[in-house]
Structure formats: structure tokens, C-alpha cells
Symmetry: C2
Subunit: 636 residues, 2 copies
């Protein structure tokens, strides 16, 4: 099997970008874990400037201002940085993705002409000041105000209460000169909701007048990024500081917007920022791949306990328990890689220069991004933890990369949208679609629909699905697809039924929603399972024929792990009987054994530059010898 | 409800010790996370000496040498230290538990008289040098040698190969003067297996001649502990350096031991060290309790998204998804606390001065310790991670303790016995018992036994247990007990059947074992589930009548979470039908809602000293206000 062909399949649509960044990355060697926080920040700032000099950050910006307009390319490049120093990844993400991205997509030419070039080159460093101490998930209700003063034609930025302090803001504590500040726009005594403003926060290295900056201090990881807090007291910025692509304030204070509805306007503004979530999902994927590469290579060389038959110590990856720890996660990492590539391609299609605005497709993209970000970052946290444990004490030493990977990625599950909140967002959007499809049915059709649902319930209550006669073949792609997709649809239908009473006047909306919240989250997860499955299957079809048989097996393992994880649900709903459920587990075991010989190839195909992997964990001589008096296999 | 009565119940048998240590602990304030590694090590060394001055470490040592012989007390005290700086906990554990403990239990009066006093007082700092780079789990096959030279009446300690280097050794990199070194004892050309030797490793702060010391460097956490590596080249120690409680070498090199069988001798020596595992389980429990206390208190005060009915923002702990994240873990933390107290009491009974040696009870204690250490440390890792995420960005800041808790405890799952290996050890011991009970049956009895097993299989294959007629009441304590215990017995019986062919001559022992490994691990986990359930139930019976009703609910939640987690198994084996399985999930939801109002009380009863909890996460003013234009509940 040719590792290059496999890597080509994984590298996907932006393979060239990946190759470039892999070559550049060798210059960005890992940081010494003993660096002080200040020194680490200084180092990451230096690397950020170095990255700017490669021209890579230009890729994503508009060609009108010296960029390449390659939206997909820049997100893919970001993803490859995820094999390296994640502080650099996040600092770069703040500077070019969040700060620069907001100026690009929320601003207009007056901002672009003035700032984009300097932002791309890293001359003007900035922050994305959205989150407040009191409002992280519910950004629609953040409290910072930007009040228009027609007398001076300025906005006055204020932090009206302690909870309105901007918090966790990257680039704020040390390096940022400017911030895109999200605030409630007030003019003529009226509030028009959250808008973004360009606010200078530092002048000659000192906080700008009226801006109070403090440091978030030491964090679990990412200590090369200077997260800080911003408090504003009567900070005046010109009227033109408003990023006015979607709304503007005239000199006399008159407010105008191309989007009438305040909520819709808010979500349209937020939607343009979807790139951040997609990038985080990509970075998480890279980190998980790196952890798996380390753990698989260690698992192949590390031997412990002698086989009583041969007296030879067994490579730990030959133990079933070890395979079950690592190989399903490896399979899912493959699946997520294809899903991520699809997501990036769709984002590129919608957001590349000159693309028509397609609101429906954009909304769909946001849903997918929310779902994949949640599932992908949880997968990364779980995978890196598992890999750390799979490497024992060696996995706890910083020299072996896993501690840093773990600490740096931990925040991915809660920043750029808390995962739980993102899954709810996805479910909400899905329910919107679902509601529409139900609403489109005639009365008869609706009655039949409800009838079918009721039948489904009865089937479940019997504990057996009597409609299904054929016995499950766990390796049948169609059967896997049907099981995964059916679960998603059923969960969604069920939650729609449970939420319907909330539409009644006077209903306890919160109570009804809250009682179904776990169901709602499951429905969202199941939806992501389906789209990840489909993306992997489609990716295999695009791959070279030589690598397809192996990839099919990897997809089998991924799909059956997903089904196995939810097999209680399939049993409860009569989709699997007891024997079939156990056959799924047996198939997962078999697939682990079948893929074991290919494990090294599968991780090599991630194409992680060797200098970034090198560590004593991989270098130490295997301590293998033949044992004269082997322990009984039982404790093996 | 009185928090003191609840705390009294949790504090258990060594409540007085806990009170003392809680009072002392206020002096051991948390470390600055920005401390350099060297400064942090110096600080922890200082705290170690301060701890010695409290006299607390004396508690566990023999009264003959100035100790109090309170074995249970010292382990409980250690547990309370787990609320504080975990580097101090581990440094103290290495010094007094592992190093001092080995001298106490593996040595004889010649060692006790010479060293114990100085060890207790922290004047003589030492290491426990067991693990080698090449052998961590399989310590029976470690490679360091101690070769007796009758000419000089010395043992010569050698590291014969790179893999035999002692690794991850606490106290080695900086502070330790002496080490208990585990090595293969060779005399007269014959190897007698692993024995422990007292070896000076540092003289006047410099490595002793022939000893090469290196530093493990920066770690994921516990950077206040100086873990290092030791390589020995012809290091000579007197014959008396052998810790000779179980075996000795005469002047002429003749080897003798009170335990003939080498394997049994090895496991007897290891068994005396069970205290380390019990202590780790206790420390992990404290860390999980601390994380839960932070997350529950934050969840009560943190509000996000407005209830559309009231316009008031909802406390995040009022969301079902948030309750489901935290409250089952809180319930399990209660269950584990009672199981831990039982385990400590049993250890105390067996190991207190003057106790008769009861080999069977000792073996049983080791099994329980292995199981509880594995389950308890995994619970801690999972709980702390969940609590970190439940606190969002605030949970990622070091000032809020969660990052340190997470990083410091991460290694608990793989040190003092890798959890997977420990569960296998437990399963092996259980199978030994199981084999004995089967072997004791007459031929007729055996046939009936096999017949019953076969019947069980048939029952499972039908997917329905036709023998059971009554419908499950999820809140029935007897039903919960039956489900949990039955699963454990069934899994164990199944794995015994699968392993039986390995006893045949010429069988592929490794292959048979390996194919059943995941089954074996499940059986071990299920066994621990049973004993934890029983311990909690018994603990409630010992509690004040006023607190029992609340504790019963907590046990309900714990038990049903355990059953829910394994409900696929119950469905596959016909122990639950679909409706009953869903009733279990519904009951977990209901119990979360019922316990929600008591969540704060439940965490307060852990009695964690307030100065150790204090952090901005708990102090910030709640950013609650009434929202004029609430978001729809759906995104809540």
C-alpha cells in the first residue's frame, strides 16, 4: 500500500496548500515547555510575524487588497498549523481569522482600504472583543454600549457594569493595538442591537485613554497567547468606526440597515464569522491526528508482558483492549477529515470573492459548522486523553508532546461557541427545516405523518421491530447508513413532537424545552453522525482505486463504532435485536484486528512533518527481550 | 437539612483526622501557576518539611519508632491533602507512603532503627525506584540487577541496558538522598527475582559514585515534584541494604526466604505496598469533589439565556443538559467516598500494628484496591474534565483551579498501576475465586452449573428474559442491586467459560486471553460497580436518620446512572426490555431535577476548606438582569 496515495486522499481539495505549509512549518519548532509566560508570548509574537512574512495569511483576504481570495485555502493552511504550536495557531486565528476576518466581512471599503493591508502583514495587531464576563454563549445580550453622539459624530463605548467587561480576549493583554468591539448600538435613545466597532485599545504600547486592560493570567494551555480583559469608560471613536456592511448611522444619528429584523441582522452578522468555527474544528482534527500518530507508533514499539507461548513480549497495540482504545478513534479521525474537507469546500463555494449570497445555503453551512465543531472538538479532547493514557508515564512528560496537545486543545470545546450551545443551534435549525416539511403537508398528509409516528412508537414499545425481516450484516454499507440516518430522523421527529406544545399560547416554553433538552442534543449529534458518514463514503469514491479497500474498512470501523456507541437506542427502538447488537460489537473487534497491521500506515498518511513528531517516546530503543519465566497471560 | 450531619456521614471513620488536616491545610496555600519549575519544586520541598513538622506523617508508622500505627488515619489525611496542592500530596506520598512505607513493611528492625525516625521527620528524603523505562506494568520482569559479592559482602547494583533505567522516580531529580531500588537479586550465579534494596543516590547534593541522575523535565502537571531517572553502574551497597523481611542473603551468599515460590514471594512483597494505590484513589476522589464543588457553585450563580416566560436569565444548573453533566458524577462521587472509607477501614484492620496476617483477606484487599483505584481515578479524570467544560472559559483560567486539578491528576490513571492492568489483576483474582467455587462442586453439581449457564445463553438469544415477570421499578433498591450484581456475575461466568480452553495443553493461551480481554475488563468494572453500590448503601445505614432520605436519592441517582450506562448490555441479555430501559433514563432525569435544589448542600458537605476553593469563578458578581427581548427558549 502506498502511503502517498492514501495521504493524497486525505489531503483532499487543498492538497497543494497543505504541502506548502508542511514545508514552511519546519521552521516553527516546538516551544520549550519551561519558557516563562512572558517569554512564550514573545516567542509566539515573533512566530506570528514570521508567519506573516510567508504570505500565507494573505491567502484568505480579498484580491482587491492584496489577498488571494482563497477562503478554503487559508482555512486548510490553518488546519495544518494544528500539527505545530497551537498557541501560534490561535494567535494567528485571532489576528487574521477573527480580527481581520471581521474587518473584511463586516466592514466596507473605508475600513478595507485603511486597514486590511496592515492587518495581513501583521503590522496592525488586533482583537476580536465579543465575549463578556457575563455573556459568553448569549452574545445577543451582551451589555457593552456604543452610544452615538451627533454633536461630535462619535460613538461612545462604555462598559456599564462589571459583567459587561470583555473577557478572554486574545491579543488583548499584550500585543493588540485595536479591537473589533461588539456592543449594543444606541442612537437617538434607541437600541438597535449588537454591532461591531473598530476601537483603538493601545497607543505606543500603553492602554488608550478610557481603556482599562488586564491580563487573564496563566491558563491551562495556549500560554503563548495573551488573553486579556477590556473595560471601556467613555471611549470615543469616529462614526466611521462602525463596521457598516449591514447597518449604518448617518451623521445626524439616523440608523439604517439592509436587514430590517434585528434578530435576523444579528444572526447574519454572526454568520459571516462561521470561518472561525470551521477553523477550530480543523485545528482540533489535526491535534487529534498528531496524538494518534504518537500513540500508534508507541503502541507498535512498546512491549509489555510476555506471550506464554513464545516467551516474547507483546507489542501493546497487539492487545485487544489497546486496539479498542485507539483504532476506532483513528477511524473516526479519518471520517472527520473528509467531513472537514467537505465543509471547507462548501464554505469556499459560498464565500469566495464574487460568490452570490445564498441565504439558505449559508444557514445550512452554519449548522454543519456548528455540529462538526462540537463533535470534532469533543473527539479531539477524548482522543488526546486516550492517547495520553495509552502512552503511560511517557505520555505525561512534556517532552513527548501529549501534555501540550491536551492542555492547548482543551478550550476548543467551549470557545468559538460552547459545544452544547452549538448542538442546540444545529438542532434548532434542523427543527426549522423539519417544521417546514411538516407544514407543507396537506391535512391528510399530516394525519398520515402523525399516524406513522404513532406506529413507530408502538413498534418501539414492543421492543421488536416486526417490520424488518432480514438479519443485519454489520459490514453492509447500506445497513450502516440506514441505521445511522434512521436514528437521526427518528430522534428529530420525536423532539419535534415533544416541542410542539410549546407553540401553544401560554405554554411553559422553557419547561417544555428543558424537559426535551437531552433528546434535542442527541438528535443534533445523530445528525452529525450521518453527515460525517456520508462525507467519508463520498471521499472514498473520490480516492484512488488502490486505497479504497483499506478506506472501506476504516469506514466500516467508524460506522460500527458509532452504531455500537448508540446500540442501547437501537435496542430500545427495535432497530437491532440482541444478537445483532452483539454482532456489531464483534464486528468492531474483528475490524480492530484487521486494521491493526495497517495502523502505522494509516497514521503516516496524515503526513505530519517528522520534526514535529520527534520525541523520546518514539526514539527510545525498544526494551524487548525474551523472558525466561513469562507471567501468565492472564495479567497480560 | 444540616450540612454538618451530612458531612459527618461522608467523613466516616476517620472524621477526627479530617478535621485536623482541614485546620492545618489553611497554611498550605495554592501555588502561583507562573512559578518556574525550579521555584515550584523548592516551594513544595518547603511545604513537605512543614508537613513533617505537623507530625501528621508519623501517624502511619509503627509505634515502636515514634509513629502512631494509625494506618487508616494516615491514608485519610493524605486524602484530605487532595483538596490542596497535589504536588505536595504526591511528594508526601513518595516520601512517607512509598519510600517510608517500603522501609517499614519490607525492611526489618536493622532498617527501622537506622532510618524510620529520620524518614518520618523528613530529614532523610527518599525515592521508590521500581518502574523502569522498559518495564512499568510488568514489574516482575524489570532488569536492574543486584548481584551479591561474597568477597566484600556487598550487593552490586547495575543497570544492564538502557531499558532498565529507573524512570519517572519522584524525589530523584533534585531532593532524594536514598532510594528503595527494586532489582533482580543474583547470588551464586542464580537469580531469585525482584527484591528491594536501600541505595544512597546522593551525597552532599551530588550524585553518589556510580549513580547517574537525570531529570524527567517538565510534565503535564505535578511540576512541584522532581521526577527523575536513575542509572546504576557497579554501585556497591552492604549486604544489610537488602530489605529483608521476606528473604535474606547470608554472608556466604546463601539465599533464604520464608516464601518458597518466587512468584508468590514477589506478589507478597508488592501486596504490602497496597497503601499507595488506596491513597491515590483517595486523592483522586478529593480532586473530583473539589472540581464538582467549583462547577456546582458556578452553575448555580452563572446565568445565561432568558426564560421567555419570565424574561429572567436562567441559572445554567437549571438546564437539564447541565444537570445531567454534573449531578450523576456528584452522586458517583458520594458512592466512591463511602467505598473508599470502607477500603481504608479494611486496610487498617489488616495492617494495623499487631494484626494477624490473613493472606486471603489481604489478597481480597488488593483486588478491591486495584478496582477502586482504576474506577476512582477514571472517574476523577472524567469528572474534572466535565467540570472544566461546565465552567466554560472561566474553567480554562488557572486562577480558577480547574486547570491545575486536571493537569495534576491526569497521571493518576496510569501511575501506581495502569488502570487497564489493574482491572485485569482484579479480574484474574475474581476468576481464581470463581474457579475455586466451580471446582468445589460435585460432578452432578458441575453439570447443573453448566446447564444453568446454557439456559442463560438461550434466554439471552431470545432477547427477552421470560423468567422475569414483574415490571421494573427503577427506584427499587432491590431491583437496582439485582441488576448491578447480576451483570457482574454473568460477565464473570462468561469470561470464565471463554478462558477455560486456555487450560488445555498446547492451547494458544495468549490468543484466547486476548480475544476475551474486553469482556474481562468489563467483568472487572462491573464487579467494582457492585462493591461501590454496596458500600454506599451500607454507609447510608450508618448515617444519621435526618440525612438518610437525601442520601437514598443520591444512591438512586448513582445506581441508575450505572445501570443506564450499561443499558445496552441489559437489553442484549434480556434483563431489561425497551420500556424498562427508557424508564431508567427517565428516572435519571427525574432524579437530577429532584436533587438540583440540594446540589449546593451536597458539595458543601465535602467540607473543603473555603480558602482552597476561593477563586474569581465563585466571586464575580452574577451578571444577571432582566432581558427586555429574550431569545427563544430553543437556543437556551
Amino acid at each position: 500500500m502506498n502511503v502517498d496515495l492514501l495521504q493524497k486522499s486525505l489531503d483532499g481539495r487543498w492538497a497543494d496548500v497543505r504541502t506548502n505549509v508542511r514545508e514552511q512549518m519546519s521552521r516553527f519548532s516546538p516551544a520549550d515547555p519551561d519558557l516563562s509566560r512572558e517569554d512564550y508570548r514573545a516567542r509566539v509574537l515573533e512566530l506570528t510575524h514570521e508567519l506573516a512574512r510567508t504570505g500565507q495569511p494573505h491567502t484568505g483576504f480579498s484580491p482587491d487588497h492584496g489577498g488571494k481570495g482563497d477562503v478554503g485555502g487559508v482555512v486548510t493552511a490553518f488546519q495544518v498549523l494544528g500539527y505545530g504550536d497551537l498557541s501560534l495557531l490561535v494567535k494567528a486565528g485571532v489576528q487574521w481569522g477573527l480580527f481581520g476576518g471581521a474587518v473584511q466581512v463586516l466592514g466596507t471599503s473605508r475600513h478595507h482600504d485603511k486597514y486590511l493591508r496592515r492587518i495581513m502583514d501583521g503590522e496592525l495587531l488586533g482583537c476580536f472583543a465579543m465575549t463578556e464576563t457575563g455573556h459568553g454563549s448569549d452574545v445577543q445580550h451582551l451589555r457593552t454600549t456604543a452610544t452615538y453622539d451627533p454633536a461630535t459624530q462619535e460613538f461612545v463605548i462604555d462598559t456599564p457594569e462589571p459583567g459587561a467587561r470583555k473577557d478572554y480576549i486574545g491579543n488583548a493583554a499584550r500585543d493588540g493595538e485595536m479591537a473589533v468591539v461588539f456592543a449594543q448600538l444606541v442612537t437617538g435613545g434607541q437600541t438597535h442591537g449588537v454591532h461591531a466597532f473598530l476601537v483603538p485599545i493601545r497607543v505606543d504600547g500603553q492602554p488608550a485613554p478610557g481603556v482599562e486592560i488586564s491580563d487573564c493570567g496563566h491558563k491551562a494551555g495556549l500560554n503563548g497567547v495573551d488573553n486579556g480583559r477590556l473595560v471601556f469608560s467613555g471611549v470615543r471613536v469616529p462614526r466611521e468606526a462602525l463596521l457598516n456592511r449591514f447597518a449604518d448611522v448617518a451623521e445626524d444619528g439616523t440608523y439604517s440597515s439592509s436587514i430590517e429584523n434585528e434578530g435576523r441582522r444579528f444572526f447574519t452578522m454572526l454568520g459571516t464569522l462561521v470561518r472561525g468555527r470551521i477553523s477550530v474544528a480543523g485545528g482540533a482534527g489535526s491535534a487529534a491526528q498528531k496524538a494518534l500518530t504518537l500513540a500508534v507508533r508507541y503502541g507498535e514499539r512498546r512491549r509489555q508482558f510476555a506471550d506464554p507461548g513464545t516467551g516474547r513480549e507483546t507489542a501493546i497495540l497487539d492487545y485487544r483492549a489497546h486496539q479498542r482504545k485507539l483504532l476506532p478513534l483513528l477511524a473516526t479521525s479519518y471520517a472527520l477529515a473528509y467531513a472537514q474537507d467537505d465543509l471547507v469546500a462548501e464554505m469556499h463555494r459560498l464565500q469566495k470573492p464574487g460568490a452570490d449570497h445564498d441565504e439558505k445555503a449559508q444557514r445550512e453551512l452554519e449548522s454543519r459548522a456548528a455540529g462538526l465543531k462540537a463533535i470534532g472538538t469533543w473527539h479531539a479532547t477524548h482522543t488526546i486523553q486516550t492517547c495520553r493514557e495509552a502512552c503511560g508515564g511517557a505520555g505525561y512528560l512534556s517532552e513527548n508532546h501529549l501534555p501540550t496537545l491536551k492542555a492547548d486543545t482543551d478550550v476548543f470545546t467551549t470557545f468559538e461557541g460552547d459545544n452544547t450551545v452549538l448542538l442546540q443551534l444545529l438542532a434548532k435549525n434542523l427543527l426549522g427545516d423539519y417544521g417546514k416539511s411538516v407544514a407543507g403537508l396537506s391535512t391528510v398528509g399530516l394525519a398520515r405523518f402523525v399516524g406513522e409516528q404513532a406506529l413507530g412508537d408502538v413498534t418501539e414499545r414492543t421492543g421488536l421491530n416486526r417490520l424488518r425481516v432480514r438479519r443485519l450484516d454489520p459490514r453492509s454499507r447500506a445497513a450502516q447508513r440506514a441505521l445511522i440516518a434512521e436514528r437521526s430522523e427518528h430522534l428529530l421527529g420525536g423532539v419535534a413532537r415533544r416541542l410542539r406544545p410549546a407553540l401553544k399560547k401560554g405554554a411553559d416554553q422553557f419547561g417544555i424545552f428543558n424537559a426535551a433538552q437531552d433528546h434535542l442534543l442527541e438528535a443534533a449529534r445523530a445528525h452529525v453522525d450521518t453527515l460525517v458518514f456520508d462525507a467519508f463514503a463520498a471521499g472514498i469514491k473520490r480516492s484512488a482505486p488502490e486505497v479504497r479497500p483499506l478506506l472501506e474498512k476504516v469506514l466500516d470501523l467508524h460506522a460500527l463504532s458509532v452504531i455500537e456507541r448508540s446500540r442501547a437506542w437501537y435496542l430500545e427502538h427495535g432497530r437491532l435485536n440482541a444478537g445483532e447488537s452483539r454482532a456489531v460489537t464483534a464486528a468492531v473487534n474483528d475490524l480492530c484486528a484487521e486494521l491493526r497491521p495497517h495502523a502505522r500506515l494509516l497514521v503516516d498518511a496524515f503526513g505530519i512533518p517528522e520534526p514535529w513528531l520527534a520525541c523520546p517516546l518514539l526514539e527510545d530503543p525498544a526494551a524487548e527481550t525474551t523472558v525466561a519465566n513469562p507471567a501468565p497471560a492472564m495479567v497480560g
